[in-house]
């Protein structure tokens, strides 16, 4: 090994550096999470004592997150949006994977690069470009044929589309990687054993892809859940949680209830991430 042979002080310094790095990683999250339990109206020092009010209290001014209808509604919209985004992007990710792994068509490489591009377009620009196109289209239709297409106006639909536009790249990459590992002779074996094509897809190919689809779905869900830049421009009256929290912070004033939500999200997404990794490390990985 590169290191094992080295004098151990170097290794110790290296380990210390790694430890420091993980402290750096954890610090803001721990800070954000910890202040959820501070018995104070402001998420700041000094420490006023431990409380669970910011989770469970049901009266102002210390309205806990589980009684704060707006936060809960934001949470609900976040779930709805993330659910749609995950479902859609996993679906398109799967078709893309089949397209690029199995398909044979001109300009495949160029199109493959085009598929990656959304990942590197700044989220803000994705948001505004979609906003501009959607509202110009809606305005045009309204002006010319007096057709009002409400779904082209900022709202859940556009938010879902906006997030979908770059999340799909992620899901496509994840599922493509898995499909590339798939031994196509497995499908032939199933055919050979008498299965119809539909049955092969249902019993062999999709089950093989399932771990990747689940993992991609979770990633898509989380990315959608935490997305801010793209959503900011496309959101209508149904604001997801990040936007609600941002509005709270920038326009109303934050209370430790935001820390409580953060704590809740850190734990929740940590658990989801864990699941996604466990699923990926599925036994069928060989």
């Amino acid at each position: 090994m590169l290191i094992s042979r080295k004098p151990s002080p170097f290794l110790w310094a290296y380990r210390a550096y790694v430890l420091a790095f993980f402290i750096f990683l954890a610090a803001p999250l721990v800070a954000a999470g910890t202040f959820a339990f501070n018995d104070s109206l402001f998420p700041a020092l000094p420490w006023q004592g431990f409380t669970l009010d910011w989770f469970f209290n049901d009266t102002e001014p210390k309205l806990g997150m589980f009684h704060d209808r707006r936060l809960l509604r934001g949470l609900y919209y976040s779930f709805v949006i993330a659910g749609f985004v995950a479902a859609l992007s996993v679906f398109v990710g799967t078709t893309n994977a089949f397209l690029f792994v199995r398909g044979d068509f001109p300009a495949k490489n160029a199109l493959y690069i085009l598929m990656i591009v959304p990942l590197v377009i700044p989220g803000v620009i994705l948001g505004i470009s979609i906003l501009v196109l959607a509202s110009d289209t809606a305005n045009y239709l309204e002006r010319t044929i007096d057709l009002e297409l409400e779904f082209l106006r900022p709202g859940i639909f556009l938010v879902v589309l906006g997030q979908f536009s770059f999340v799909t790249t992620i899901t496509s990459l994840v599922i493509t990687a898995r499909l590339k590992k798939f031994d196509a002779s497995m499908e032939e074996a199933a055919l050979n054993l008498g299965a119809t094509r539909a049955r092969v897809l249902r019993t062999i190919t999709l089950p093989f892809l399932r771990p990747a689809m689940i993992a991609a779905g979770i990633v898509a869900f989380l990315v959608s859940f935490e997305n801010f830049n793209t959503t900011l421009f496309l959101v209508g009256s149904e604001a997801p949680l990040t936007i609600t929290m941002y509005d709270r912070m920038a326009k109303v004033g934050s209370t430790p209830v935001l820390n409580a939500v953060s704590f809740f999200l850190i734990i929740g997404s940590g658990a989801l991430a864990l699941i996604s990794i466990l699923v990926q490390r599925d036994k069928t990985d060989r």
Partner: protein
Amino acid sequence: MTITPAYDLECIDIAKSFGDFRAVKDVSFTIPSGSFFSILGPSGCGKTTLMRMIAGFETPSGGDIKIKGASVLGTPPNKRNVKMVFQHLALFPMMNVYENIAYGLRCKGVSNDEIKLKVQDVLERIALPDVGHREIHQLSGGQKQRIAIARCMVLDPDVLLLDEPLGALDLKLREAMKIELKLLQHQFNTTFIYITHDQSEALVMSDHVAIMNEGRFEQIGTPQELYHRPNTSFVASFVGDSNRWSGKVADSDGTGGKVRTEQGLDMAFSAAAGQTISTGSEVDIFVRPEFIRTIRENDPAAAISDGDNRMSGIVDSLLFNGANSRVLVRGWSGELIEADVILTGTDDLAPGEKVDLVWSPAQAMCFEKTGAA
């Protein structure tokens, strides 16, 4: 009038082109019921393509394939009663052993009770009665192999195709599985078609072997026929080891005569069965190492028949390998010749010693050079 067909599988002038490239060229053969038939050929010669046509994954560009006497050209792969064991087995990792074996039966719509019986039965026949609940990754390489065969055999196929199924196994296991496969075929008494590029696999297991080269069958025969009486120079060089000389026939009575090799050596030969070789033609001569005797120069004890070829040289090196040891002898014109020897550690040949190599003309297989070769 119902005639039970004599052959499980017949291929008639079957051909396959990929674009301009002709991967399989007018191959015809028939396989009698219940036999173990191997197709042996170098990598890329078209073996897999041929097999995939039989299984229905490729459509032939020409010719006909008959299974049990009926053409299957129009039958989709999932309707043909030809099962296939894939090179990497293609067991389904998301199902356990039981489900893997049951898969084909479920596709057929067999009832659950019957499936249970049949799966248990086939597991017993491959001597793995208790692995049904195991996951695929819990099996050893040899066990996987057997499950892959069981998965096909449970469907009672007319023909079982095996595409280099031992390719992925390690050396020791491969040796063991060779024998096992042959026993399994006896057990099921089904026609096996076995593809390989490893000659020892083909020779050891098969009733009949077809040697394939560049999309064509060069020879079909029993292992012994191929080894001892090859029809073409390709077969002679591909099956078994041999020393090879090129030369020109100096004198021939049609079935035997004398050749002068490129190195200037005179050599007596007898032509391969059915060939006539005329004086003046360019030929390749093959002599297997086990038919060359190495004797110490001027060893009085050595008994040499009169007609035997004889050549002197110097021992270059000894390749000790137990019963398969070889000696490399450098002939006077510089070529290296391999001969089998027995090295016991006492009174062996040593590098640098002068030796004579001796072999009978009957073991010198001679083939006229074809234009292309």
